[in-house]
């Protein structure tokens, strides 16, 4: 089956099979390996991407469901060599340890900021409640998002 959609501002047409998850299509067909698998059931958030402005777990979506949609992955945050303010802020605030949850965290945070540029700390926590992190205890991640808002 042909899947036509927009990924990181680029028009893409790829071949997918009926049961293929969006996660696998992005990783295997487009090489977007920032999209990580951690649980395969939408509980850990490592595979979070932005689809039409909303953060979704790409392991619980079939590739074909993305037909005609606009997808953003972490690879798409960087614009003409400039990192996104969230990326800068994650680095500055020590929000990254092993880094495996980082792309998902960025996607959930970015989706939040698209809808609500001035979220409260509680709203940030809610936005990343589906993103698990075993390394950081979340504090520095939340601080990073708060810092990005201030800037």
């Amino acid at each position: 089956m042909k899947l036509e959609f927009i990924v990181n501002d680029k028009h893409e047409i790829i071949d997918v099979y009926p049961g293929e998850r969006l996660l696998d299509a992005l990783r295997n067909k487009l090489g977007l390996t920032s999209v990580k698998e951690g649980c395969g059931e939408g509980e850990c958030g490592a595979c979070t991407i932005i689809m039409d402005g909303a953060a979704v777990t790409s392991c619980t979506i079939l590739a074909m469901q993305a037909k005609g949609k606009e997808i953003i992955t972490t690879e798409g945050l960087e614009k003409s060599g400039e990192l996104d303010i969230l990326q800068e802020s994650f680095m500055k605030n020590g929000a990254i340890q092993c880094g495996y949850c980082t792309p998902g965290m960025l996607m959930s945070s970015k989706a939040l900021l698209i809808k609500n540029p001035n979220p409260t700390k509680e709203e940030i926590k809610r936005a990343i409640e589906g993103n698990l992190c075993r390394c950081t205890g979340y504090t520095k991640i939340i601080n990073a998002v708060l810092d990005a808002i201030e800037r």
Partner: protein, 752 residues
């Protein structure tokens, strides 16, 4: 007087954050080698059974399947994946694939195919016939006479007593003895990256294995033993680590993946999913610990007896090391002249135990610290004050002959914590009468700094200053995401007075890294490997000074090194970068700046953590919310403050889970109920408090720039502090972890 440091203690960014934040960094699961095949295991759904038959015909007939392996196809070399160097041995009871399954999650078959979709389909087509055997799922069942034996003729795998003085007599005669039985659950490491491995064999027959691992030389050794092939034909490369916490310490997939690469002649990527990571890898051992403590009226501990029964699961692995580690900790926090620790390990038909952040510390401190609080309640004393009467002091000796405690600052931690947390004021508040009630608790933990005093603990490192002005520190270090590489860069930068950006620190690769005796284990990296980096850098500095004095034709004393430049103090006009000087040394002297040093760990001091917490308990639902955590750490000296905070906040996360929600649930049939994160609950952002961090930096004489460990001790004190806070809130006595809503409600009901 405190030294002033240029790079030590500074929050310099981790070396690889840009690659991580842009999603470009490649983990083992992102690797693609030409012609690579994919593999996944079929794990047992029976807890204890003989395999009568495995029908793989349908799976093998599937287009794209390369081969299906069962116990009939694999080498029969028993191994123990905990063994980390030649010269130590533990009971060998593991095979790559087994004919007799001993737990749900045991290894039954492997499918290798051209893509993952085919692998999954083929796995579903394998039919296994089992002859079921009786199942043991608890320590109590394992102990029974005449029960089913999982290995050999007893389910008791290990037993050892550690003691000082004679506690039994004092306990018998004492007026006041406080006894508690505390249980702790099996915990899943929950690294976000599941276990994974890639292997390839070249035309010479050499095997290369890429693995997110903790000890490359251990991986190499276990592959050699499991496959009975020469160790030096195996190359192990540590990949970017997507979280380990001890879970990826023992090589599990690596010997299997190496075998598959040899058998197929192709690169193979062996993948696990979350369920397999929970049931088929390793776990924190469950424990049941009975603590009896005799005290006098002033709260002075007179004697203590600890009986610890450990559920190690279906295979031995480190079944002797965990109770030993627990026992040793019991003697290094409080000064107790007469104390006995009895540790026993039992096989059960449950998830296999292994290293897990804290390595026995979370269990033993859960037990002893809950017991201490119950003593304080019994004596109507403040639990912090009671502890202060009993703590070890700096430079005390270990009463069992273990390594000296060094600059042990647990008292400072408690005193600072009481002040910052406003402990006295909070504890003295009257309890709310309504639905929600606040409680306050504290607890302490002690851990070590490596293996000194128990096992070989050394690291060889090589340092070269290049002619392009870089300093290369070659060693078998493994950054687990904690910032090990940058920590080394800061240490080397401080010694050579060059910016850490100029220091290059490649990670472990058995082909090129000098030997390291123990890898990233036992909280040894900063203390031992960091000590090695410091010494090696000092030797490189000496060599640079000696050879530069020849080049500049001056006395060594006249050589000045500052901010990455070197010059003759009498010739300020001619300053050289290290690189420029090395060019001169190479061209004029035909020499080089390269040193190799084997650093033996000089000590193994105690490192201490004290946590103060505030909880809110809902009397209606039994739900507990952690409102505040203050973690005070005796760290000697932080090398990188940001990393230290990261460790402590992450360790608290794991410990809060142990206290409230995390448990691998296994029923009487041995079936696992917590197969994924929908059932196995790790704390998410809304439920996680901001963990406040206070550091006691009094310096440890034998650590690099005074530094001690932090990565494991930080995961031990939060859980008992939370349980103590819950018990404080409701005046109940919860002793089973995790304190789930059901358990909290039950305790409230029982209190009436």
């Amino acid at each position: 007087m405190k030294e002033k440091f240029k790079y030590i203690g500074k929050s310099i960014r981790k070396h690889d954050v840009k690659e991580k934040v842009t999603g470009k960094i490649k983990y083992a699961g992102d690797m693609k080698l030409g012609g690579m095949l994919y593999a996944k295991m079929l794990l047992s759904d029976a807890a204890h059974a003989n395999i009568i038959n495995i029908d793989t015909s349908k799976a093998e007939a599937l287009k794209g399947v390369v081969k299906v392996f069962t116990h009939r196809d694999v080498p029969k070399n028993y191994y123990n994946s905990h063994k980390w160097y030649k010269g130590v041995d533990f009971p060998r009871d593991e095979l790559i694939l087994t004919e007799k399954v001993r737990h749900v999650g045991d290894r039954v078959a492997i499918v290798v195919a051209k893509d993952m979709e085919t692998v999954e389909r083929a796995l579903s087509l394998i039919k296994v016939e089992y002859e079921r055997l009786p199942v043991i799922t608890s320590i109590e069942d394992a102990m029974k006479e005449g029960t089913t034996y999982i290995h050999g003729l007893s389910n008791k795998a290990f037993e050892k007593t550690i003691k000082c003085g004679d506690s039994s007599q004092i306990l018998k005669e004492a007026e006041m003895v406080f006894e508690d039985v505390i249980t702790t659950p099996k915990q899943h490491h929950a690294a976000m990256e599941t276990h994974i491995c890639v292997a390839e064999q070249d035309s010479f027959g050499n095997i290369t294995v890429w693995s997110p691992c903790q000890v490359v030389f251990q991986v190499q050794l276990i592959i050699a033993e499991a496959l009975d092939i020469p160790l030096d034909n195996i190359r192990v490369i540590k990949t970017i680590m997507g979280g380990s916490f001890g879970g990826k310490g023992q090589p599990i997939l690596e010997p299997i993946c190496a075998f598959l690469a040899m058998e197929t002649g192709k690169p193979v990527q062996l993948i696990t999913d979350r369920t397999q990571s929970i049931i088929g890898m390793r776990s924190r051992n469950a424990s049941k610990i009975c603590v009896k403590t005799a005290v006098d009226h002033e709260g002075k501990i007179l004697a203590r007896n600890i009986d610890a029964d450990i559920d190690i699961g279906a295979y031995y692995t480190n079944g002797s090391a965990v109770p030993m580690a627990m026992g040793k900790k019991s003697f290094r926090m409080y000064k107790i002249k007469d104390q006995t620790f009895n540790g026993r390990s039992y096989f059960t038909n449950t998830v296999v135990g292994g290293a897990c952040r804290g390595y026995g510390s979370p269990q033993i401190h859960a037990a002893t610290e809950i017991n201490i609080d119950n003593i304080a309640r019994g004596l109507h004393m403040d639990p912090a004050e009671l502890r202060l009467k009993n703590f070890v002091k700096p430079y005390d000796k270990d009463p069992t002959g273990g390594p000296d405690l060094g600059n042990a600052r647990v008292i400072d931690c408690v005193e600072r914590g009481m002040k910052v947390f406003k402990w006295k004021k909070k504890r003295s508040k009257a309890k709310a009468k309504g639905r929600f009630v606040r409680g306050f608790g504290m607890a302490c933990a002690v851990h070590g700094n490596g293996y000194h005093g128990a096992y070989p603990d050394f690291i060889t490192m090589t340092m070269r200053i290049t002619n392009d002005n870089a300093v290369v520190l070659k060693s078998a270090i493994h950054d687990q995401g904690c910032g090990t590489v940058t920590t080394m860069k800061q240490i080397v930068g401080e010694v050579l007075d060059i910016h850490p950006d100029k220091v290059i620190v490649p990670q472990a690769d058995t082909a090129f890294s000098p030997y390291d005796s123990a890898g990233t284990q036992a909280s040894r990296v900063t203390f031992v490997c960091g000590g090695g980096a410091k010494k090696t850098a000092e030797l490189a500095r000496e060599e640079l000074i000696a050879k530069s004095s020849v080049i500049l034709d001056c006395k060594e004393d006249n050589i000045t090194i500052k901010d990455g430049f070197i010059w003759n103090v009498e010739d300020e006009e001619n300053k050289f970068t290290f690189g420029e000087m090395v060019v001169k040394i190479q061209n004029e002297l035909e020499e080089d700046i390269e040193v190799t040093h084997t650093y033996k760990s000089p000590a193994n001091p105690g490192v201490y953590a004290v946590n103060f917490v505030e909880v809110e308990v809902d009397r209606f639902t039994g739900l507990v919310k952690v409102i505040d955590v203050l973690a005070v750490h005796d760290i000697g000296q932080a090398i990188n403050r940001d990393f230290v905070e990261g460790q402590i906040q992450g360790g608290a996360h794991m410990s809060i889970g142990l206290a409230l929600s995390e448990e691998i649930k296994i029923d009487r049939m041995g079936r696992v109920g917590t197969l994924n994160f929908s059932k196995y609950h790790i704390i998410n952002a809304p439920d996680m408090p901001d963990v406040r961090v206070e550091l006691i930096e009094e310096g440890e004489a034998l650590g690099p720039f005074g530094a001690k460990s932090v990565g494991e001790v930080c995961a031990a004190a939060t859980a008992p502090a939370i349980i103590n806070a819950i018990n404080d809130a409701l005046d109940i006595n919860i002793t089973d972890l995790p304190a789930t809503p059901e358990r909290v409600l039950k305790a409230i009901r029982e209190k009436g």
